[in-house]
């Protein structure tokens, strides 16, 4: 408990969280501070490339763990199952329409890669190692939740043809999945030697870029809160905090069952607790255009993301440490 508190405090006062807070504050105060879309996209490409590459190098370095395939499978199952829980929960807690509830559910089954990156950065500063292939698990968890949610809707009748091959392709080949998996493979192939050549680009400045990126995320989240605050009833708001805890618990169980390291268990918790706000919203705009984007975006980016970033991650890491004896 004590460790948890000190970890949480250290996390809250780290440059990356404070940068996020600065962004939120600036947006709420309606400052015109803003980071150009192209620059923010450039930073996210950098972060994805770096995290994927380092994951691949770590796999090259430590060899493939027997549980790699099992972990991928578990990630897919979690991503597909969590929306069902979220959907049921939303019908108890909020009273969203079926469409809105399904759209929200899709976001919580899928993952937020920035939350994942923040998680790895907390692990690193605590000196805790994790399986390098967790970035592959992250990639595997992006899409299944979308299918689950569409299945929930089609089951309830309606016009049905929500999903087509084109959309499927768009989801599976969305830029962040491709970049994450691609750089993971590149890191795997080139190994420690390859890392040495680009280390001073992808390792040393990583934390600093993450600061500026989270500053932008804070701006975006703050704007979302300003605009979307009226949209969310208390029940739905509460869902944004309860659901990550449920997800984290599911991730914890999975990680322990698979016998992962402390870091691996913590990252499984982080992934399951996190909610998508890039890939899934775009898919929802195509497949469920009638669902209200303000609801799922405000919830995922304005409530769950800050919650995980500030309180969730240190708590998940502390629990994983306690239960794995790490």
């Amino acid at each position: 408990m004590e460790q948890m508190l000190s970890l949480a405090a250290a996390n809250l006062l780290s440059p990356i969280i404070l940068s996020f807070a600065l962004g939120v504050a600036a947006a709420l105060a309606r400052s015109d501070l803003n980071i150009p879309e192209a620059v923010a996209k450039g930073m996210s490409i950098y972060l994805l490339f770096a995290i994927g590459f380092k994951g691949g190098v770590s796999v090259a370095d430590h060899g493939i763990d027997a549980t790699l395939a099992l972990s991928l499978l578990a990630g897919i199952v979690l991503s597909a199952a969590l929306p069902l829980i979220a959907f049921a929960l939303l019908q108890v807690m909020g009273n969203l329409s079926r469409l809105d509830a399904a759209a929200v559910a899709a976001h919580y089954g899928s993952i937020s890669i920035v939350t994942f990156v923040a998680g790895t950065s907390v692990l690193e500063s605590g000196g805790i190692v994790a399986e390098g292939y967790m970035v592959a698990v992250a990639a595997a968890m992006e899409a299944p939740a979308i299918l689950s949610a569409l299945w929930l809707i089609s089951r309830g009748g309606g016009d049905g043809k929500r999903m087509d091959g084109e959309l499927m392709r768009e989801i599976m080949l969305n830029g962040s999945i491709v970049l994450l998996v691609g750089s993971f493979l590149i890191g795997w192939v080139t190994g420690v030697e390859g890392l040495a050549r680009i280390e001073s680009f992808i390792v040393s400045p990583f934390q600093g870029v993450l600061c500026l990126f989270l500053l932008d995320m804070g701006l975006v989240a703050g704007r979302g809160l300003r605009g979307g605050s009226g949209v969310l009833r208390p029940g739905v708001l509460a869902f944004g905090v309860v659901m990550p805890l449920i997800g984290a618990t599911a991730g914890l169980a999975t990680g322990l069952l698979l016998g992962l390291t402390t870091g691996g268990v913590a990252l499984f918790m982080v992934l399951s607790a996190s909610a998508s706000y890039i890939a899934v919203p775009a898919a929802m705009r195509v497949a469920l255009p009638e669902a209200n984007p303000s609801i799922y975006l405000t919830l995922s980016l304005g409530v769950t993301f800050p919650f995980n970033l500030t309180l969730g991650i240190p708590v998940y890491v502390a629990i994983a440490s306690a239960l794995t004896g790490g």
């Binding site: 803003n34 879309e37 923010a40 996209k41 084109e166 975006v220 989240a221 704007r223 979302g224 605009g227 979307g228 706000y277 890039i278 919203p281 775009a282 705009r285 195509v286 255009p289 009638e290 984007p293 303000s294 975006l297 405000t298 980016l301 304005g302």
Partner: protein, 103 residues
């Protein structure tokens, strides 16, 4: 200078629908259009701006299409099939064009 009657159809629609709309146009035999960026706007579903976008995937674009008057209906039909369930605005205005052989 010799000009010819034509119609200018302007469709403001979500970026994610862009390729679906242009595919539908192409299928309807329309082969010319231009896509313009949009910074923001306001409508029945509230105000938004590119900078204020919560998700960066949900901006809008404007697809402009110049066609001969007699081909208008086919175009509107095709466009409407895509726009129907989505937010967006479709306008048509008269215009004149140079080089009519192009349309």
């Amino acid at each position: 200078m010799q000009t010819h009657q034509a119609k200018r159809v302007a469709i403001i629609i979500e970026q994610v629908m862009e390729s679906r709309l242009t595919d539908a146009l192409a299928n309807a035999g329309v082969s010319g259009w231009t896509v313009l960026p949009v910074l923001g706007g306001s409508g029945r579903s509230g105000e938004w701006s590119r900078e204020g976008q919560v998700s960066r995937g949900t901006g809008m674009v404007q697809v402009v299409c110049i066609i001969r008057p007699e081909r208008m209906d086919a175009l509107l039909e095709a466009a409407f099939g895509v726009v129907e369930r989505h937010i967006g605005v479709v306008t048509v205005s008269d215009c004149e064009v140079l080089r009519a052989e192009r349309f």
